[in-house]
Subunit: 326 residues, 2 copies
DNA sequence: AGTTGTATGTCAAACGTTTATCATTTTTAT
DNA sequence: ATAAAAATGATAAACGTTTGACATACAACT
């Protein structure tokens, strides 16, 4: 069987109390006993049982991460960063792919509660989850409204949309469309569209909004995009995420539209993946490092003090990544 | 405070024993009491404390996932799939990004032990982790040798390399290089190189092996590739992963090498991401769905019966995805 | 009538750890 | 030598749940 506190105590020739004191650095302890105990722990490969510890009242040092799907590179990078930061602070991460399914999201919430997580970072795309309120658990949200007392961290979507439109115009485009996700209240892509629209109308251009349902498969999305590009003579397109921008670039190639002379293209997100493997793509970069750091930092504050006052919304600046597509 | 078993019992007007019986479906129970208890649980938003349950002997239903870095799309997709399958089977996932750092990997192992996970699926890239042996925990490995009693699931790397070489030759290439990771014993990319070499030598061609250190940044890798392509007149390149293939394609474009007429290109992995967003890339697809299913299935077998006999190695077939680059 | 099966209850031990209390011993300082 | 401080131990309660032992009650069969 696995070694337990008692076994360590026996091997070290001390009492359980002392071993526990050593582990928790509690009360008076001589250097000599500490060493004896550590030696015994090493020899037995002893690992304190976290279940028992947290039953006692200790934190579980577990954090739940709810995102729609980490096979999306944007979330993959975000989750990867968050995990790294949390691990460095001695927290572990329980991963939840909600797949944008409200029921799954609810199930995940239940499960995380049952596992006594110390807090949750959520960045899924569903809305109307009333449940987030009732659990008196520290929660921080990424780029999405969950409930009144849940702080939101996001990048400056409005300015991002504005910047994208500006970039397209300054690159010579004057018939500029936006390809974005279905807009429901609270969705982050709304801000991007609004920024885009604001820039265009302020500069005497007409916005052309095309909503591509988020859940569409890439193949279907490609078809839609092809139809759109064939039936309008846009010379500039702002895609509200980089993956859609890639699809658009593919379609442009099929249609023999040269980029950027005939069609200018701007994406959104600017993950490391895109910057590294598609350096040509002009895009709006979300500051993923800062976002991750802030998300974690806010969560830990809430965990340390459940009532600590936090802002309702934290907006981080975006950055234009100038490629060759616009 | 959070509701506990006792509160549910009081509200339902039954004993704690009965509530516990309902939850665990244990012993005789009338439909009426069951309903009463469920109603009370719902009303209180009761969630059994998993810490207490597992202390008492129940499984934690937690599985540790150790991968080098999920910001790599290949691992992102793999982890995403594994998580989905496990969630459907009522398991939760603790995510570990080992970053190919043996010390981090050791720390993660310790942590997972401390959290009483029921098992581990590991697909990191380090070797020589003796620790995997001593923990008497069900472990399944993806594409990597860990220890004698740890079953390995992998795709048919040798055949993949063979197929890639064959595809390049049949597309008209006769000076065919391979860009692969540093080869250390046990690394999966070795098989791919061996398959490539075997095909070439058997067909009277000379293998040209270029090892690009795995940890090189994409920018440095790009420089390396550029140097290589400038100094040799290869007309076919097999990259042992798709991301390197993308870099190679970028470099080819810079050097005005047309693909596939002047340079033929084959990648490896064939994630959904690549298939969806780079449908042109000819690549060798690893069966990620089958791999995930098998990894989980083997792990659950081991969890159910720690001594169940499993094969040392499970090799799944790969598939050529014919694009336009070779 | 007695037997059996079903349904519930009471009680207490157990899981592995933490922590408080009280007691005791050893060390150090004066 | 004496007091104070430091180091350890023994004991037990607590965390929330499961589970077994045992008791009781009521129904439905013979």
């Amino acid at each position: 069987m696995k070694p337990k506190l008692n076994d360590v105590a026996q091997l070290a020739g001390v009492s359980v109390t002392t071993v526990s004191r050593v582990i928790n650095d509690h009360g008076y302890l001589s250097e000599r006993t500490k060493q004896k105990v550590f030696a015994a722990m090493r020899e037995l490969h002893y690992q304190p049982n976290n279940m028992a510890r947290s039953l006692q009242g200790k934190n579980t040092q577990l954090v739940g991460l709810i995102f729609s799907d980490i096979s999306n590179p944007f979330f993959a990078e975000l989750v990867s960063r968050i995990e790294k930061i949390l691990f460095a602070k001695n927290y572990k991460v329980i991963l939840c792919n909600s797949a944008d399914d409200p029921q799954k999201e609810r199930d995940y919430l239940q499960m995380l509660m049952a596992n006594q997580v110390d807090g949750i970072i959520a960045g899924a795309h569903n809305l109307g989850i009333e449940e987030y309120k009732q659990y008196g658990l520290p929660i921080i949200s990424f780029d999405r409204y969950l409930s009144d007392n849940v702080p939101i961290v996001s990048s400056d979507n409005f300015n991002g949309g504005w910047l994208a439109a500006q970039t397209l115009q300054q690159a010579g485009a004057d018939k500029i469309a936006i390809f974005t996700g279905k807009s429901h209240a609270g969705s982050p892509t709304n801000g991007r569209r609004e920024g885009y629209e604001a820039y265009l109308t302020q500069h005497g251009l007409t916005p052309h909004v095309h909503e591509l349902p988020f859940e569409l498969s890439p193949a279907l999305k490609t078809m839609e995009i092809r139809t759109i590009l064939e039936n309008h003579d846009y010379n500039g397109v702002f895609c509200s995420d980089d993956l859609t921008a890639l699809l658009t670039a593919n379609v442009a190639q099929q249609l023999k539209l040269t980029i950027p002379t005939e069609l200018r293209l701007v994406g959104y997100d600017g993950t490391a993946l895109i910057r590294n493997y598609h350096p040509n793509l002009t895009t709006i970069e979300q500051p993923l490092a800062d976002i991750s750091t802030l998300l974690v930092s806010l969560l830990l504050q809430r965990i340390a003090d459940a009532n600590c006052k936090l802002e309702a919304k934290y907006t981080l600046p975006v950055k234009l990544i100038k490629g060759t597509t616009a």
